[in-house]
């Protein structure tokens, strides 16, 4: 499900902000997750060393990725896992479809995979007449609501329990007006248990794939990936090329960081290592590029591929918290999404690197130390140079640059003609100025500091 919209982040964020109590609720909920992350991190004195170690492992991975991929493939093959390669979303979706089609399977259960969101797998399979049911509770909720997830770890964090109650009443037959999370979760449990027991195919994502052993690891709290995979005759796992880690022992670094960063838990309930298929079943693994090798070639942006999808940057981002995941109109929202998306479509996502104050909190919570806010700054430069910036803005910036290069132009015009009055966005006191909507403009003093200083006795220049 893509967010079908031509609106950009500022408009979508403004729409979200029409309901201020809801924004407050969304902000508080995510801030609470950030606070839990802080508590978990502060329990480990070695936290910063762990982050640094994880970062270095991932840098090593990116610098040797082609050989690690080959090593992983060889070991996975030895283990009896069948490896497929997909250059883009279309090829990935085609591979999944073919695997199902060859076995005459029309129904599949799927656990969380942001890659399949990126590839719009569900829509594609639906068009082919394949029924897909998402089994992660949050994903099932947004699927029933016909919406995309708004957060990579907390897919329905934008939904209130009463709204979820309504959805469950309509689709799963829960009592009208029931909104107790315990009862709603039990309803989903009963519904999805039936699904798990009747699906011949299960698709999962991959959190880590170990080159040394050919195994891959999936982390869930609900146990839905395991339920699906162990009961199905074919387990399809989809992973981006960047999910590789060199050795099994490196899991000991990443599994310590992932959930503490994501939700403040010390580890997920289940961290399952799939090495070989069980008797009577097959494991197919699809390794997907979809623009990642291009991003790997962008020196300033390649480190975004270190991401382990914990979502910490979203929870801490004040812009994300106060604009909601859907305002990013891409599968992966928030700060990390804003540095990944322009690689896929610079024009469509030209707004996203600007949906930030560059406050830098994202880079500080990132468990693999991606310089997210620096990359946002760098994407802005690239987007302007590539011509995806509005013409009027470019004209204004050129005039500004000229003025700031010339002390005479800068000082010209007296109080009302001062530079800041001409160019500062907050200086024009009228209703057409976005600053003035909710904020007073600063008062203009009688003289600038420069004017005051010139009259000061014994002024040193």
């Amino acid at each position: 499900m893509s967010t079908a919209t031509d609106k950009h982040h500022p408009q979508l964020a403004a729409d979200f902000n029409r309901d201020e109590p809801r924004v407050n609720w969304h902000d508080e909920t995510l801030w609470w997750v950030r606070a839990k992350r802080d508590m978990a991190a502060h329990k480990l004195p070695e936290w910063e060393l762990l982050r640094e170690t994880a970062s270095q492992i991932k840098l090593n991975v990116l610098s040797n990725l082609s050989s690690y991929l080959e090593q992983f493939e060889a070991n996975a093959n030895k283990n009896g896992i069948i490896v497929h390669w997909a250059q883009d979303a279309a090829e990935h979706n085609q591979i999944v479809y073919n695997l199902l089609e060859q076995r005459g399977i029309r129904k599949m259960v799927k656990s969380k995979s942001m890659l399949t969101e990126e590839c719009h797998l569900n829509e594609y399979l639906k068009e082919q007449g394949i029924d897909v049911i998402d089994s992660d509770l949050g994903e099932r909720i947004v699927q029933l609501a016909n919406e995309p997830p708004s957060h990579i770890v907390l897919p329905c964090i934008h939904k209130k329990k009463e709204e979820i109650g309504d959805i469950f009443h309509e689709h799963l037959g829960s009592a009208k007006g029931e909104s107790d999370p315990k009862i709603l979760t039990e309803t989903a449990r009963q519904h999805l248990r039936e699904v798990f027991l009747t699906r011949r195919a299960a698709l999962t994502g991959v959190n880590f794939a170990v080159a040394e052993t050919g195994e891959f690891v999936i982390c869930t709290n609900e146990g839905n990936a395991d339920m699906g995979a162990h009961l199905a005759e074919i387990h399809i796992a989809s992973m981006g090329i960047e999910k590789i880690i060199p050795e099994r022992k490196h899991l000991g670094v990443f599994l310590r960081l992932l959930t503490r960063s994501a939700t403040g838990q010390p580890i997920t309930t289940y961290s399952s290592h799939f090495s070989k298929p069980q008797d009577g079943s097959e494991i197919h693994l699809i390794i997907v590029d979809n623009g990642r090798s291009v991003q790997l070639g962008r020196e300033d942006f390649r480190n975004s591929l270190k991401c382990i999808r914990c979502g910490a940057c979203m929870n801490t981002c004040p812009v994300y918290r106060k604009s909601g995941g859907h305002s990013y109109h891409t599968a992966i929202a928030g700060p990390i999404g804003s540095i990944l998306a322009p690689n896929l479509d610079m024009k469509k996502y030209a707004d996203l690197p600007f949906a930030s104050t560059l406050c830098g909190s994202c880079s500080n919570v990132c468990p693999v130390k991606i310089d997210i806010h620096d990359q946002l700054y760098k994407w802005r430069q690239v987007i302007v140079k590539e011509g995806y910036s509005p013409k009027a803005k470019t004209m204004a910036m050129k005039a500004m640059a000229l003025t700031l290069s010339s002390p005479a132009l800068y000082r010209m015009g007296g109080k009302t003609g001062r530079f800041v009055f001409k160019y500062a966005p907050f200086a024009v006191n009228n209703k057409f100025n976005p600053w003035y909507n909710q904020r007073e403009m600063p008062k203009a003093p009688d003289q600038s500091f420069g004017e005051w200083y010139a009259k000061r006795k014994g002024a040193k220049n």
């Binding site: 500022p10 403004a14 979200f16 802080d38 502060h42 480990l44 910063e48 801490t316 004040p318 812009v319 604009s323 949906a355 930030s356 104050t357 560059l358 406050c359 830098g360 909190s361 880079s363 500080n364 700054y377 802005r380 430069q381 987007i383 302007v384 140079k385 470019t394 910036m397 050129k398 500004m400 640059a401 000229l402 003025t403 700031l404 290069s405 010339s406 002390p407 800068y410 001062r418 530079f419 800041v420 009055f421 500062a424 966005p425 976005p434 600053w435 909507n437 909710q438 904020r439 007073e440 403009m441 600063p442 203009a444 003093p445 003289q447 500091f449 420069g450 200083y453 040193k460 220049n461």
Partner: protein, 245 residues
């Protein structure tokens, strides 16, 4: 010690009293302060909008104005950080590199270079400290709440030297105010909401003043406070540190 005073464009034109306080404070602490009168701006408004390639003239002028001093001191973390990270000038790269090393935000200059231990200032009010993101996470003038590391705060340390001042910590120690340069108009809804929430946090803790080492944040918070007809005022940290010295 020859110190050049770097006054950001919006401070020069909207908040001269903060620049005056900075100047007086540095002089009282024994610095020979110079104000290069041809200074304009650090170029950040263009660079953060994606137009860093247009900042050549601005950078060149900055180098001309600020070369040859022992230190360059600025009452803004954001502008200081921009110079530290992005000042480059064709044909003047040596001087630019020198400036990047010598530029200091006011509170880090007071703590790290002048090693100020007492101020003799007085400000008998409940004051909330707003940590500007660029000062905090860029210049590291205080410890960041995200990191597992020992706490410290250069502005906090200085404010604690002011007699009568009661420093009040907000609920969220270092959440962004939402100014963000052109972000404040491009993303008006989110920007204003972020500012309102910061203000509400400080107000709920009963502050009389909100202070910061960055006036851009304070300008944003002031715009919101005044729209709400709040009695809470904003004040640059230099004005507090220079009060009744």
């Amino acid at each position: 010690m020859r110190v050049a005073l770097f006054v950001p464009c919006y401070v020069d034109q909207f908040y001269p009293q903060a620049a005056i306080a900075t100047l007086e404070l540095l002089e009282k602490l024994g610095c020979e302060v110079h104000y290069p009168k041809n200074q304009t701006c650090c170029g950040q408004p263009m660079a953060n909008s994606g137009y860093e390639h247009l900042t050549g003239g601005c950078n060149s002028l900055f180098v001309d104005n600020f070369s040859g001093f022992d230190y360059i001191v600025c009452p803004s973390g954001s502008c200081t950080l921009h110079i530290k990270e992005h000042l480059h000038a064709d044909g003047k790269e040596m001087q630019a590199a020198e400036i990047r090393k010598k530029v200091y935000e006011l509170t880090e200059f007071l703590v790290d270079v002048l090693r100020v231990k007492q101020l003799g200032a007085s400000f008998p009010y409940r004051v909330g400290l707003h940590q500007s993101c660029h000062g905090l996470r860029g210049l590291r003038i205080a410890q960041m709440s995200e990191l597992v590391a020992d706490p410290f705060s250069k502005p906090g340390q200085l404010l604690n030297m002011v007699s009568g001042l009661e420093l009040v910590t907000p609920g969220r120690a270092d959440d962004c105010c939402g100014f963000g340069g052109t972000f404040c108009v491009v993303e008006e809804a989110v920007s204003a909401k972020m500012g309102k929430d910061r203000v509400a946090d400080h107000v709920s803790h009963g502050v009389q003043y909100i202070t910061s080492a960055d006036l851009s944040c304070l300008m944003h918070l002031e715009g919101i406070l005044r729209r709400q007809n709040s009695g809470v005022k904003v004040i640059h940290i230099a004005e507090i540190l220079n009060n009744s010295l």
